[in-house]
Symmetry: C2
Subunit: 383 residues, 2 copies
C-alpha cells in the first residue's frame, strides 16, 4: 500500500489523519519576526499514558523533513514509517509502558501543522508566499501550547536529533522551568556558516525553479509544482547527511546498466541514481515551501539570539544533559555537540557527551538506533 | 580594466588572444568514447625557453574552470590572473629562467581549446549538444599533439592540482616514456562516489535550468543562457572547495546589511552573498556546456579504466613522484593522495607525500603557494 502524498502543485495536508491528533490553538501565535499567525493547528501523536502527576512526559522533536510519526507503520497522514520505529514503543529503549511520548509536526511543516500550504484564515487560500519567516523558537512556542493543552507542566525529558536537537536547546533556554532533562543529538547551538551555505544552496535550487512561482504554486496542476528544484535541494542535503566512506562502499564507481559509460553525458552512475531516488521520494511527500521555511529556520537557529550571545543563553540550562555526536558527521560535526557539553560542564551542570561510532554520517542518529537507544534508556531512568 | 567574458548565451571564445598561442591539430582526435573530433584547436601558453635538447620542459595542467594562464595578469583571452602567479616566473619556485613551462586549455574547455561552444567543422554552428563525452585521457591526447608540435619528446615534469592532477596521472600511465617525473596535487587516481555525487548535482542544476535547452542555447540573447543553473552548480562546488573552519572565521552568522534577519526569507547571510558572488563570477567567464563536459570527464576519471584496474594502471608509473595533499580538503581528502604514494612506494618507485597544513580546504593548492612552491622547486631540481 502506498500512502505517499500525491505529487502535485496543489498538494495540501488534507488527507485522513491516521493516528494523528490535532490541536487548534485558541489564541494567536506571536512569532520572533514580529508577525502573528492566527488559526494555527498543531498536529501531534502520543504513545503511552500520562501518569497522575504528569511526571512521565517525554517530548520528541523531529528533524527537517520529519513529522510527528516517531513510531508505527506508514499510514494515512504520515507517509513514512516511524523515524525511531525500533527505539520507541512498549519495552523498547524509550519504553512507552513507562513514558508518555509526544511528538508534534513542527510549525511551518506539511504533515498537519500549519505551514505554507495551509489555508490563510482571512481568505481561505494557501499562505504560499505570505507565510512568515519562522524560527526554531517559534516551533517551540507552538509546542508549549500543546503541553498546556495536555496538562504537562514540565517534561521529564526532551529529545531530538538535528533540527530536533535545535528545538531541544530552545526549550531548555526559553522555558527552563518546564524541562527536567534534555538530550540534544547531532545538533548545534547555532548554525555554522557552512551549514547555512548548504541550506541556502537548497533554497536557491527551489527558488530558481520557474515552477516555484515566487511561492504561489498551489494552483498548479498535479505534478506541476517546483519538483525539480526541491529534488535538487534534497540531493545536496542527502550527500551531507551521509559519508564519503559509505558512498564508496555502497556505490563505488558503478554505472547504471551495462552500457558504455562514455556513450552519453546522461549515462548515470549508481550514486546519481541513488540521489535522484531520494530527491523524487521527498517530492512525493513534502511541500517545497515547507522545505524553504523550515530550512531558513535552521539557518536562523542561534540560541544566543536576543540573549546576549551563546554563552549567556547556555547559562540558562541547568538540567541534566546527554548529548550524542557522530564521528562521521560532516554536516553537524562532533565538535558542535562537544561544545554544548563543555559549556554546560564548565558551569557545573551534569552533562555527558557520547560519540556514536558509525560510518553513516549525520543520518546515523536515524540508522544506528542500537547505539542511540541504550544511552537514552539509561539517561531517562537516571535523571 | 575588466576583461571578463561577456555574459551571454551566445558566448564563444573568439576574443583576442593575448599571450595565448593556438595549435590546429593536423589530424583528427580519436576519443575514448569511440567518437572522433575534427579540426581541434589547442590553446596554450609558454614561459621561458626550451633548451637545445628539449630537456627542460615542464607541463602544468589546470583544474576544472582554469585555463592556460598559469602566470600573468588578467588580459584579453584569459579573464583571470594566473592561477599560480606567485609560484611560476623568473626566479620563482618554478623558475622560468630554468624551465620551459607549458600549459594548455583542456579539451572541452572554453578558453581557446575546442569545446562545446566551438563551431562544428561540418556546419559552422556551435557543437552544443553534439559535443561528445570526453575523458581526462582525451585531454591528455590533445596535449600530446602539442608536445609533438613543440618538439618535446619527454617532459622533465608534469604538475597539476585537482583535475590537473588527474591529467598528470593519465600522462604517466598512458605515455610513461614521455614523462621523467610527476607531481599530482590534491587529486585522485579515480573519482570517488562522493566526488561523483557532487559533480552530478552540479550537472543536474545546469540541465534542469530551462535556459540550458538541452545544451543548444548558443543562439540565446546576451545574458539569457543557463546562468542560474551554472551559478547554483558553482555554489555547490565552492562549498566543497573550502572548509567549515574558514567559513566560520570569515562569515560566521553575519547577515547582509543591518536589517532584521527575520524580516524575509530573502534576507541573506554573508556566506550566501559570498557564494552568489562566486556563482555570478563564474557565469561571466565560463560556458555552461564546458562546465558539464569537463565535470563529467572528472567523474569518469579512473586511471584503471581499460587497464585491469587501479593497481595495474599504477604499475605503469616508474618515475619519481611528489604528491601533495591538504589536511582540510573535504573534496579530495588526503587519503587519496596517500594512496597514490603508497601504491608507488610498495613497488619501490621513489614517491613522496607532503601534506599542506592549511585551513582553506581543497583550494589551498591555489591559495597557499608558499607551501606548494618550495617542495616543487626542490623536486624539479633533484629529479
Amino acid at each position: 500500500m502506498n500512502h505517499a502524498v500525491p505529487v502535485s502543485g496543489a498538494w495540501r495536508p488534507t488527507d485522513p489523519v491516521g493516528h494523528r491528533q490535532f490541536l487548534s490553538l485558541d489564541r494567536k501565535l506571536a512569532l520572533d519576526s514580529g508577525q502573528v499567525l492566527d488559526g494555527v493547528v498543531v498536529a501531534y501523536e502520543t504513545w503511552g499514558t500520562l501518569n497522575a502527576d504528569a511526571s512521565n512526559a517525554v517530548l520528541m522533536c523531529h528533524a527537517w523533513t520529519g513529522d510527528s510519526h516517531v513510531a508505527g507503520p506508514a499510514d494515512l497522514g504520515h507517509p513514512t514509517p516511524g523515524w525511531w520505529e525500533s527505539a520507541v514503543g512498549p519495552g523498547l529503549a524509550i519504553d512507552t509502558n513507562e513514558w508518555f511520548v509526544v511528538c508534534t509536526n513542527v510549525l511551518g511543516g506539511c504533515q498537519g501543522t500549519t505551514g505554507p500550504a495551509s489555508l490563510h484564515p482571512d481568505d481561505g487560500k494557501p499562505y504560499g508566499s505570505r507565510f512568515p519567516v519562522i524560527t526554531i523558537r517559534d516551533m517551540v512556542r507552538a509546542q508549549v501550547r500543546l503541553a498546556d493543552h495536555l496538562g504537562i507542566g514540565r517534561w521529564h525529558s526532551i529529545i531530538g536529533g538535528s533540527m530536533g536537537g535545535m528545538q531541544v536547546l530552545e526549550w531548555a533556554t526559553t522555558y527552563p522551568d518546564r524541562v527536567s532533562s534534555i538530550a540534544p543529538i547531532a545538533t548545534c547551538a547555532q548554525a555554522s556558516a557552512q551549514q547555512i551555505a548548504w541550506g541556502s544552496i537548497g533554497r536557491r535550487a527551489i527558488m530558481t525553479d520557474p515552477k516555484w512561482r515566487g511561492g504561489d504554486y498551489y494552483d498548479a496542476a498535479p505534478g506541476d509544482g517546483p519538483h525539480e528544484g526541491l529534488s535538487t535541494a534534497r540531493m545536496v542535503a542527502q550527500v551531507t547527511f551521509r559519508s564519503d566512506n559509505v558512498f564508496t562502499e555502497r556505490f563505488g564507481r558503478q554505472i547504471v546498466g551495462s552500457d558504455n559509460a562514455l556513450k552519453s553525458i546522461d549515462q548515470k552512475f549508481e550514486v546519481e541514481r541513488y540521489l535522484e531516488y531520494h530527491g523524487d521520494k521527498l517530492v512525493r511527500r513534502f511541500d517545497a515551501n515547507s522545505y524553504l521555511v523550515i530550512g531558513k529556520a535552521m539557518d536562523l537557529h542561534d540560541i544566543g539570539r536576543g540573549r546576549g550571545g551563546l554563552e549567556a543563553a547556555m547559562a540558562r540550562i541547568n538540567v541534566p544533559t546527554l548529548t550524542l555526536g557522530i564521528h562521521s558527521d560532516m554536516l553537524y560535526p562532533a565538535y558542535q555537540q562537544i561544545q554544548i557539553r563543555d559549556l554546560l560542564v564548565s558551569r557545573g551542570v551534569p552533562a555527558e557527551y557520547i560519540e556514536i561510532d558509525s560510518p553513516h554520517g549525520h543520518d546515523s542518529f536515524l540508522i544506528d538506533l542500537d547505539q542511540v537507544g541504550p544511552p537514552l534508556r539509561h539517561f531517562l531512568a537516571n535523571v
